[in-house]
């Protein structure tokens, strides 16, 4: 497969606007797919829904780009983000149309790459989480597992919400440092 390296947004938009540059479209999908998926995970909190969002947004964006519909190519990222926001708002509509478009564009290219995300050493993470101070561990678990509000966490720890934020940030940095991730 031919990879297109380091194209600027403007170059990418111009090439896709021709309507037949599958390599440029592929590069666009590889570049934006993971970011769209993260947006989907953040707002939909469900892996399947996030994968669906990736396909819907890429389809919609590629349609516009093929037609030369993006007037300001340097704003490609904003355009994709805007498409994400609109798609989430309208996600309950257009199921039939989506399948039709999937057939037209091809499922393979639009599918998010499963190996795109970072690999996590779960055993190391367990040691790092266990190595946190008790309150840091409590905040991290309550935040990421329970998804409790800052007020609930603050009540449990008998500290202020501002203090919870400080503890959470310290714990995040501690975990990343322990995991060997550059800060």
């Amino acid at each position: 497969m031919l990879l297109i390296m380091e194209l600027t947004p403007t170059e990418l938009v111009k090439r896709i606007a021709g309507g037949s540059d599958r390599e440029a479209e592929g590069e666009f999908c590889r570049m934006m797919g993971p970011r769209i998926r993260l947006y989907g995970l953040r707002h939909l909190r469900d892996s399947q829904s996030a994968d669906d969002l990736v396909q819907q947004v890429l389809i919609t964006a590629l349609e516009t780009l093929r037609d030369g519909g993006l007037r300001e190519p340097e704003k490609l990222a904003s355009f994709v983000l805007g498409t994400c926001r609109m798609t989430v708002l309208n996600q309950r509509r257009g199921v039939r149309r989506r399948q039709q478009l999937l057939d037209q564009f091809g499922v393979d290219m639009l599918a998010p790459a499963p190996s795109a995300g970072p690999r996590l050493d779960h055993e190391k993470l367990a040691n790092c989480v266990q190595g946190l101070k008790e309150r840091e561990r409590a905040v991290i678990v309550m935040s990421f597992y329970d998804q409790e509000t800052a007020a609930d966490v603050a009540r449990f720890l008998s500290v202020s919400e501002a203090n919870v934020r400080v503890i959470r940030h310290r714990a995040i940095h501690g975990l990343r440092s322990c995991m060997g991730v550059a800060l």
Binding site: T8, P9, M32, L41, A77, L120, S158, R168, R176
Partner: protein
Amino acid sequence: MSCTERLDAATLADYWLGLLGQGEEEHVEEHIFDCRECSGELAEVQAMAQGVRALARAGSLLMVVSESFLNHARGRGLNIRRYDPPPGGSVQCTVTAEDDLLVGALAANLSAARRLDLSLCDPTGNEQFRLVDIPFDAGSGNILWQQSITFAKAAPTSTMVARLIDVRDSGEETLLGEYTFNHTRTLPGPGAW
């Protein structure tokens, strides 16, 4: 599409948790879509969050938990084995293959406690491990201590003594409660460590 200004990991975590104000959240999203490095950082935060959730779900962390944590786990269909030994007393306990979480509820008057440590001792009273400055609600009247289910399932028949200790600024320690857990192994495995 590269970064001139990197977003801090803590900010990305706050974004992931939905803790930013609307304006800041929109700013972060604009940046992430425009920045390869920061979208990669967010992916790492997301993976870490997923890993922490998996650890909590697996019950493998030794830690103090809240009632809401247990309610959340119950809501997800996890089996919680809970023991409530009286202060100064003991309880016969075990763990089965079906159990997902193992919790000891340690009742004590916490109203005057400043800093609370949980000391885990062998049957002769020698401290093996200490959880320092554990979170607690002074009005709750108990501490919910989660033992690692992975550890418990592997443990032979044995006795563990848990002590709640109030630690003053001077370093003076006051015992608030002592609880003895007589664990009987019911899963197949070695009879001793």
